[in-house]
């Protein structure tokens, strides 16, 4: 074990955790031991884990604040669902169709990440946070106003209402404004979700350990120093941000193929969702991939597991959030934890027994 460098070992533990959880869940499901609620939560958990990892790339590794991650997820969700909806009869082999949908969702979200990053990432300061915040809201509102129909003559677009599409009788409305896309094929499942989590991990962890990743982290740590040694700052910032956006798009495709209908509602893709993903990252540890994955899982499961508490559910959830935040970040508690650490205690006991 000692022969493997520590960095690799760390990565392998993360992969191992994901695979172990997958294996355990599959065994439990095959014995019928998993509740229906939990089975239904498996895909959403994968979605939030992917979102947490991808945002950690922007916030933790690149060191820029993004408040519009849900906007990229929204783009991916709609691009993927749109593709699946129009090809559901043409491509009957669903894994292939879903694969293509994922690629399209990732490309669309990544492209918009690139477009937004291009002007904004040239600046220093909090401009990315401001622009992504606006972007997330704009995307949501544009999709809510967008009508796309398909009939024999091809596609029809409108930004006013359904009637102005001028469809033939046999035409079909694909994106119906605020009513979104209905009838997306349900292609998401736990296995695909886990494969995508592993893929996301593979991309992000390898990026971090690569030459490019070290350049990205050097920008985070000291912009002037990295510029002085000839690192192309904008290029690396753009690279990290676009990859992060593309991965959010993948999560979006998974989302829209897990539900029958996808609507650009504030609850699903609004500002609060972006903040929720940011909370996963901050609670799990900025720059700590595994931590943010665990935070995403715990914070998604918690409100569902507390359904029995009825109306106190949200109150307790909020208290747990505050307690976790204090536990992880409050200086006094950090100092207290330092003094009362179990490792230390064991060490002291051992030391005494040696004497």
């Amino acid at each position: 074990m000692d022969k493997i460098p520590k960095i690799w070992r760390d990565n392998l533990i993360t992969y191992g955790m994901v695979i172990a959880i997958y294996a355990v869940m599959q065994i439990l499901i095959s014995f019928g031991l998993v509740s229906r609620l939990m089975q239904g939560l498996l895909v959403p958990l994968c979605i939030y884990v992917i979102l947490a990892i991808s945002l950690n790339l922007t916030v933790g590794i690149l060191g820029e604040l993004s408040l519009g991650h849900a906007g990229f997820m929204c783009l991916g969700a709609f691009a993927g669902a749109f593709f699946s909806k129009i090809t559901v009869e043409a491509i009957t082999f669903s894994p292939l169709r879903f694969f293509l949908a994922i690629v399209i969702g990732a490309v669309v979200a990544g492209f918009f990440g690139f477009l937004i990053g291009m002007p904004v990432l040239r600046f220093r300061g909090d401009y990315l946070a401001i622009v992504t915040l606006a972007f997330g809201e704009i995307i949501k509102n544009v999709i809510n106003a967008l009508f796309v129909g398909l009939d024999d003559r091809g596609f029809h677009f409108s930004l006013s209402d359904r009637a102005s599409l001028g469809l033939y009788e046999d035409g079909e409305v694909i994106i119906n404004g605020a009513q979104g896309i209905i009838g997306t094929p349900q292609d998401s499942n736990f296995t695909v979700g886990i494969v995508l989590v592993l893929l996301t991990l593979f991309i992000v962890q390898n990026l971090i350990r690569s030459r490019d990743g070290r350049a990205i982290m050097s920008i985070r740590d000291n912009l002037i120093a990295s510029e002085s040694i000839g690192i192309h700052v904008t290029k690396y910032k753009l690279m990290a941000f676009s990859i992060s956006a593309a991965l959010a798009g993948v999560a979006g495709v998974l989302y829209s193929h897990n539900l029958n209908n996808v609507v650009a509602s504030p609850r699903a893709f609004g500002y609060n969702m972006s903040i929720m993903i940011l909370v996963f990252v901050v609670l799990g540890g900025i720059g700590n991939i595994r931590g943010s994955m665990i935070a995403a899982v715990v914070l998604t499961l918690l409100p569902e597991m507390m359904r029995g508490l009825d109306r106190y559910r949200m109150l307790i959830y909020a208290i747990v959030l505050i307690v976790m935040m204090l536990f992880n970040w409050s200086p006094q508690i950090l100092a207290w934890r330092e003094q009362h650490s179990i490792k230390d205690l064991i060490g002291r006991v051992r030391g005494r027994s040696r004497v």
Partner: protein, 390 residues
């Protein structure tokens, strides 16, 4: 420090993994288990809470009178925060509890998402208020208590065109403006069919003004445009919160058209700090009137007021009816609580098309096999602070 963290996370993992494991799902209890799903927290919570309260009153009444064929009902309402994903979670958690019949969901988007799962389970589902046409489309196990959105938009256009509305200037309304929320499923659903049917009707649409959820507080621009276009009537396919603002802002610019809305306007008289005098003359198509002289309605309203201290809205009334529809369908089909979910679903979805119910939200309600309700729409006008049938 690291160690401490590890122990803590191990404890967390242990607790979570315990909760993963299932309790046995078979219904060996001797009750009918009816589930409910709706927003009990968040922005749409008033609707979900009204449904929970209304349904609970019906359940208590039935249980006190001996239950359905002598079998008691257990009712469990879960929160979906008006979100599709959470609604599916709520559905799954109710299935774990042993739900046999679903009364819900309250809002449309979650209802469409839940519909896929309930129809896969062949579970009988009846929604008091999810009015989108997509709710019942392609699902033969889902039924609605409320009119669907297309019917409301169509009915409103027909009413203005055929029966006619007297404008406040003393002449029959011919110029109509629309203000609607383009980011809302209910509002845009009504708008779509209203516009479509308006083309066949003898009135003109002189202005259509949209707003979105993020700009739903200031309507002065939309109202000014409607005023300039000479609209005698403004169609408001909205919920009452926005409508109350529109009424107040129209009064502020001295604009006095007739306001006409769907069932979403029900509740406008209960908005806090709203001058109810402004709502005089507002016309709405609503299935339920709390001030009705009908004995059943009076009993329900006074019971609701006693328990919750407020006048029930149509969501509560719809939920009350939904529970009684379930009761009537079970009695008609002779189904028992020991049947499996799918057997119960098969029996009830046939039975519900064969019964006729006199409820709070309509006389002689019958259901089509598609899931749509068949009842006469009622147009109400607000006079002296109460609804009066037109």
């Amino acid at each position: 420090m690291k160690m401490f963290k590890k122990v803590l996370s191990l404890c967390l993992v242990a607790v979570l993994s315990l909760s993963v494991l299932t309790a046995c799902g078979n219904n060996d209890s001797d009750v009918f288990k009816i589930g409910g799903i709706g927003p009990l927290s968040g922005g749409a919570a008033i609707y979900g809470i009204a449904v929970r309260n209304g349904a609970q009153i019906a359940v208590d009444e039935i249980n006190a009178a001996g239950g359905i064929n002598g079998v008691q009902i257990e009712f469990n309402m879960q929160d979906d925060e008006h979100d599709a994903e959470k609604a599916v979670n709520a559905y799954n958690s109710l299935k774990d509890w042993g739900m046999q019949i679903l009364m819900g969901t309250v809002t449309s988007t979650p209802c469409v998402a839940v519909g896929v799962h309930s129809s896969a389970d062949n579970l009988f589902q009846i929604t008091p208020s999810a009015s989108s046409a997509n709710v019942v489309k392609d699902n033969d196990n889902i039924f609605q208590i409320c009119f669907n959105d297309p019917n409301q938009g169509y009915g409103s256009a027909q009413y203005i065109g055929q029966i006619g509305v007297m404008g406040n200037d003393g002449s029959l309304v011919t110029n109509v403006a629309i203000i609607y929320d383009s980011s809302d499923v209910y509002s845009s659903g009504l708008y779509d069919t209203f516009i479509k049917e308006a083309a066949n009707q003898p009135f003109n649409i002189v202005a259509t003004e949209a707003f979105t959820e993020s700009s739903n507080t200031d309507f002065s621009v939309q109202l000014q445009k409607a005023k300039d276009a000479g609209a005698q009537l403004i169609f408001l396919p909205l919920y009452y919160k926005e409508a109350s603002l529109i009424l107040a802002q129209a009064a502020a610019i001295d604009y006095n058209p007739v306001f006409f809305g769907g069932d979403g306007l029900d509740g406008i008289l209960t908005v806090e700090n709203f001058n109810t005098g402004l709502a005089e003359g507002v016309i709405l198509l609503t299935p339920f009137i709390a001030s009705s002289a009908d004995a059943k309605t009076q009993a329900f309203v006074s019971e609701y007021e006693r328990l919750h201290g407020e006048i029930p809205n149509q969501f509560a009334a719809g939920a009350y009816d939904a529970i009684y529809v379930i009761k009537a369908a079970i009695e008609h089909s002779g189904a028992t609580h020991t049947m499996s979910v799918s057997e119960l679903g098969d029996a009830l979805k046939v039975a519900v098309t064969q019964i006729s119910i006199n409820g709070l939200t309509g006389e002689n309600m019958t259901w089509l096999p598609t899931g749509e309700v068949n009842k006469a729409p009622k147009a109400m006008v607000i006079v002296n602070g109460i609804y009066v049938e037109l």
